[in-house]
């Protein structure tokens, strides 16, 4: 084996992220600084992180039209992984903007935070590229372990520590299933490469059990019902920038990895697994939406909403066609903008009192429009987009997904999804009604002054949600051209 034959170039974006992460981590042990300087140093580290993310995004865009298989076929760079990288890097950059001001309220461990965030990004990027079981497992663990720590980063607040514990226990449990499934597939085929697994699978009990266990593990990571129990707690307790990042990044990476497993490692016809996915999707969107109806905390409401959104995105996998994949990627972009935007607004409604649990409760948003008209309008745009109201990105995302489902012969699933969208409109609109129709009182609470970095994140998210909606046709078509090049 020759190191130079491994084609390092195609892993450049990931390597840049890992290098940035290490640089940021090293600053934690260099020199002692006073408390005032620490905040300034935190901002400098955020800038370094953003630069790393931008370079990685630039490299990804440069490689956009160059599919490559490297490291003896352990990783595959193609349109799928490039677009996934862009979604993840976007989510991470917006999360850094949110953390800019937010983080300083409870910790001075800036280097650890940004370093772990970058490691999670690297794990997600590798996960989307992996075409081999060991690579898949390692990248999944890199992202999960980083996120367990990030979830509990506000460790003096009980909610954050509790969220981290619950996420950790269930996440480690899910890892056990994934690795057991991987072991059974290895035993069945004698190889951990997806292509060998597809070629040599016996189709007997070992194959079936292996894939079923992998699916259970992925369902945990995507937060699909009935494996979603950790999601509301972890999302509510985690620091809001972390919630915003992981609700988008983990789902995106796990969905793409699952798609890759189903497309390139399964030799059985796609329909065999599409049924299991269809049921998962049906349960996920229904339970997520129904549970979101009675939430009083905006953060928890968004957590249940993100479960439901995972259900919609699974439709793209159920269809399993070019159109389905294209729709799923489009939805991931739309979801990154609208969901992180919504969490960004929620983070501004939190009180400074960490002993309070309902720190972004619905009451805090009461009459927000008369206090902060722009913030209320932005949050309303995100809510409309998540509910799927034209002409916003969320509407077209859903339209393409449902269209892909009907096109692939899953009419009933598309109908269920439409009914679910109607149910979801109720709780999204409730937030809007509280902000616009009710009068502000003493419970209305906005963190003032609103930091510039948060404003920037919200503006980017609003522009993304609007432009992806207005330019839905061209952007969907350009995604299509890249995806069609992918082998099916």
């Amino acid at each position: 084996m020759n190191l130079s034959s491994l084609n390092w170039n195609s892993l450049l974006p990931e390597l840049v992220i890992v290098a940035t992460s290490l640089i940021v981590l090293i600053t934690a042990v260099v020199g002692k600084v006073s408390r005032v300087d620490r905040i300034a140093r935190g901002h400098a580290l955020a800038v370094v992180t953003l630069i790393g993310l931008l370079i990685a995004a630039g490299l990804t865009i440069m490689q956009l039209s160059q599919p490559a298989s490297d490291f003896m076929g352990m990783v595959q760079s193609d349109a799928l992984s490039h677009y996934l990288n862009l979604v993840i890097l976007l989510a991470a950059a917006l999360a850094v903007l949110l953390a800019w001001d937010y983080l300083g309220r409870f910790t001075y461990s800036f280097s650890e935070f940004y370093s772990l965030l970058l490691l999670a990004v690297a794990g997600m990027m590798f996960l989307g590229k992996s075409t081999e079981l060991i690579t898949l497992f390692v990248s999944l663990e890199i992202l999960s372990i980083s996120l367990y720590i990030l979830t509990g980063f506000n460790r003096h607040q009980l909610a954050s520590a509790e969220a981290s514990l619950k996420y950790f226990l269930l996440g480690a449990f899910a890892s056990g299933f994934i690795v057991y499934g991987a072991a059974l597939l290895y035993g069945d085929t004698g190889s951990t490469w997806f292509s060998d697994i597809a070629a040599n699978a016996s189709g007997g009990f070992l194959t079936l059990a292996g894939f079923a266990l992998l699916l259970v593990g992925f369902a945990f990571k995507i937060a699909a019902v009935p494996f979603h129990m950790w999601t509301p707690d972890a999302y509510q307790g985690a620091p809001t920038p972390v919630t915003a990042f992981m609700s988008v990044g983990t789902k995106a990476a796990a969905l793409v990895a699952l798609f890759r497993v189903l497309q390139s490692a399964v030799s059985a016809p796609y329909e065999t697994w599409a049924w299991a996915l269809a049921i998962l999707s049906l349960l996920t969107m229904t339970v997520g939406n129904v549970a979101a109806l009675r939430q009083t905390s905006i953060k928890r409401l968004l957590a249940y909403s993100s479960i439901a959104q995972a259900g919609y995105m699974l439709i793209g996998l159920v269809a399993g066609t070019v159109l389905g994949l294209q729709a799923m990627l489009f939805y991931l972009f739309a979801y990154a903008f609208m969901n992180i935007g919504a969490f960004a607004c929620a983070s501004l409604l939190e009180s400074d009192d960490w002993s309070e649990l309902q720190d972004a409760s619905m009451a805090n948003a009461r009459g927000l429009f008369s206090r902060q008209p722009l913030l209320a309008t932005a949050l309303a745009i995100f809510m409309f987009s998540l509910a799927g109201i034209p002409p916003l990105a969320g509407f077209f995302g859903k339209l393409y997904l449902f269209d892909a489902a009907i096109d692939a012969g899953w009419l009933w699933l598309a109908l269920v999804a439409v009914i679910n969208s109607v149910i979801s409109a109720y709780y999204y609109m409730r937030v809007v009604v509280v902000m616009f129709m009710e009068a502000p009182d003493e419970s209305t609470r906005v963190r003032l002054p609103i930091p510039d970095s948060a404003i920037l994140a919200i503006v980017i998210a609003v522009l993304g949600a609007l432009l992806l909606g207005i330019l839905a046709g061209p952007s969907f078509a350009s995604l299509g051209q890249a995806v069609v090049a992918w082998r099916f």
């Binding site: 509990g152 009980l158 514990l165 057991y180 707690d233 905390s297």
Partner: protein, 103 residues
């Protein structure tokens, strides 16, 4: 006399099931973590048995087992740190007592 592969697989499946039971039945976070570790090590038995009986010529089975061990160690380190952090504020790591987040 050699031990057939099936015996190893049964042992591994039994260990995995015991670990699974531990995760589901125990309420102490450390006991749950032990259950998870048991599950991961059951998988290691499985992987090594498969490696020895199916592909002894190819080292990827051994590599897989070492990586699973490493990940289990990293997970234990993070988990125990978390438990200590929670124990300091709550004086308990019983998961039933952690009920601040619900709904």
């Amino acid at each position: 006399m050699t031990i057939p592969l099936t015996w190893y697989l049964i042992l591994s499946a039994a260990l995995f099931a015991i670990g699974l039971f531990g995760v589901l039945a125990r309420r102490n976070a450390i006991a749950i973590l032990i259950g998870v570790e048991l599950m991961l090590n059951a998988v290691n038995v499985n992987i090594l048995a498969f490696w020895r009986y199916i592909r002894p010529d190819d080292p990827s089975g051994q590599v897989f087992a070492i990586i699973v061990l490493t990940v289990a160690a990293a997970e234990a380190a993070v988990g125990l740190a978390l438990f200590i952090s929670i124990y300091r504020t709550r004086r308990s790591i019983n998961v039933d007592h952690l009920d601040a987040l619900k709904g």
